[in-house]
Amino acid sequence: MSIGLPGHLGPQIVNRAVARAGHVIAYVCLIAAFSIVASVQADQPTVILWPALLALVPIAIMLWRLDRNQTLFYATAYVVIGALAAYWFALTVMTDYQPLLGTNSFVLTLPKIAIMLVGAPGRGTKVAVSASVVGYAAAELAIIAAAVQTGATIAVDGASLVTLGIVASVIIILSTRAQRSRTMARPNIHRAARDEQVAAVRYIIEARAAAVMHDTVLNDLAAISSAVPGAINDNLRTEIERDLRVLVGEEWLADISTTVDAPAHDRWENSELFRAVNEAKRMGLTVAVSGDLAAIGRLGPASSTALGLAAKQCLINVLKHAGTGAAEVVVYGSESAVSVMVIDTGRGFSEAETGADRLGLRHSVRRRIDAVDGQVQVWSTAGKGTSIMISVPAESSSSADVAGAV
């Protein structure tokens, strides 16, 4: 869930963002200064202003270096070289172009702003504000020196001072706000996200547990309750023995993907679906299988198991409820998914009306398939039969999706 940054990262990131924004503004100021001087030079070719253009180049180069390496060394170098270059810039402009004369001229304000935006991320609010003041002072002194040398007017530069005030306020306000937001609800929401994750994992595991319970114990109990009194039949005995062994003795909820031999899944004969079909046949159902059987090989172990067990439950439902002895299983494979359709021409039903006793479709089919991100669709008409389509994502496509998301 995108719920923003953790509290401890807030101030740090805001500082870095303010420094970066400052550098972008500094570039804009340098480009504006360059454009103004270049325009005047183009307008009045007799005046020699082009050396001022050259003076802006070292400031821009140092700004580029500083933006890539925000160390004390580069910050100092930027201010020192920037101030020297500003002196050179001011000297050229003041000597040769009367209308831009005066230390408060807009074109001279621009390099001052560029240099005051030196920035000092990661060193605290005081250092960041001091860096701006030092940058401004160095640039202003350099330009005053040029004014003294050329006899130009020295005036208070209101625009620069106001900008300095704004820069300092922005640094102070943003970093204190970022710190304050630490005390807000953020940790509680991060905790809720973690709890939600735990709940989601538990839900999947409980769904699997419920489905396994349904496939084993409930089926066995149903078989016993409907058995003919007398000696227990061999099939049922084998089934019960196997179920007891699995439920009590094995870690049946351990992640399937780690316990199944992956290459074996490439083959249809080893798939859970194949086993499901055979089991249904053993129980007396006539099952016709058709379609793209090789597609089953494209499923991951978990999806393949879920698909097989879900199909098995559908076939058991046909046997128990449809009133017909035959079903058809069709396998469709697409690039992104593998679908299995279980079709019968029996009684049909309405899922909503099946009531609490028909847990099979909900547990063993829907929840199981939901847990592997698959889909189940049921079409059933009373008297005409039922078709259940179970689709699960193919392994190659789901891994591609993950790669795309990252």
């Binding site: 509680n188 547990a209 992640d255």
Partner: protein, 387 residues
Amino acid sequence: MSHREGTVQQLDPLGALSSRPLTFVASTCVLAYGIAITMINAPDIDHPVIAALALVVAVAASLVVVVASGPRYAFVKRKAFILAVGLAFAGYLLSIISMWNRNAHLRGDWGPMVVGIVILSFLVYRPPRELAIAGILSAIFTGFMVLADTRSLVTEIPTIVLIITAATPVLTLSLGAAALAQVVIRSIRRWGLEVIAAAKAMETELHAGIARSVQQDRVTILNRDVVPFLTHVLQSGDIGDEDRARALAISESIRSVMVAEVDRSWLDSVIESEGMARLGKRAPGAETVHDPDRLAAAMTTDQRTAMRALIVALFSHDAFDRQGLDIRLDRRAVLCVVSVRASFRASESVIRQYLAAYLAILRIVFIDFELTWSRNTLTVRFFYDEH
């Protein structure tokens, strides 16, 4: 869920909430700067009414973001941004008109700075790219404004210099805002990827532990009735009428437990575990949660997280009245609607402030959001798609 635009507000709603007062600061700056420059230019103003109107429009421009970022709206839309910049230019134009006949000498105008501040004030609410584009287009418009304002100005300075001078504040403020927003967004995204990676790692660890505990629970249940019964059937080798009846009874009892579990949604579990943790007694979630169509299951992970956080926050407040909590999930047209009604023994402002962050998150992850307060009862309604 609403379409994500890649704004700071959408990626970090809590950060955006805490920086909302800055929009008031921006608005105040517009007013103060506008008044100051208007007073400096006073001798040039022929139409004081238009000059005043210009200021009103400029302040209105700066108030658009204040209103649009308020609790009524999910998040700030592009329309609001266009409206604000449009109003800023309208104010700028009016201020030029108020001094239409006096432009014989150079003077400063508040227009470009106000346009820049208005764009800057959207930095949390609009994507960086949009801020940058708005800045560049506004700089071009500013150029035309300067042409209109200086049509009969006689000066040695080329007009292009005047245009660059006016466009610079617009460009610095908007591009600076875009850069700032971009760094913040990139950091949030990088952090988000780290969180996803950590969550994945945690999931694998979690899985083993939870699987063991769930299996243990089931085995305990099975050992009580089922295992002894099945073992007895296997050992005796015979199934009698009594066994058949017993099998039916056991399977009925297991089914009823399973049905109850299936019917219990994640929302019921949250209410139950919170009630347990805070009050030390188990309260069935079904008493509080009315979800006949089982719509809670259709919420996305983000929506569940936001709702879970809200419920935990409600239970954590001292003035919260647990008996007064009522959560309903219904369908309304094509959407699902959740209504949470909670009673408090505290004033509206206290509760609103306490819940502000959680409500901000709800506003972002759900489609629509309504909030009312009457007689110590807060009602929050939010909508989502049934997936």
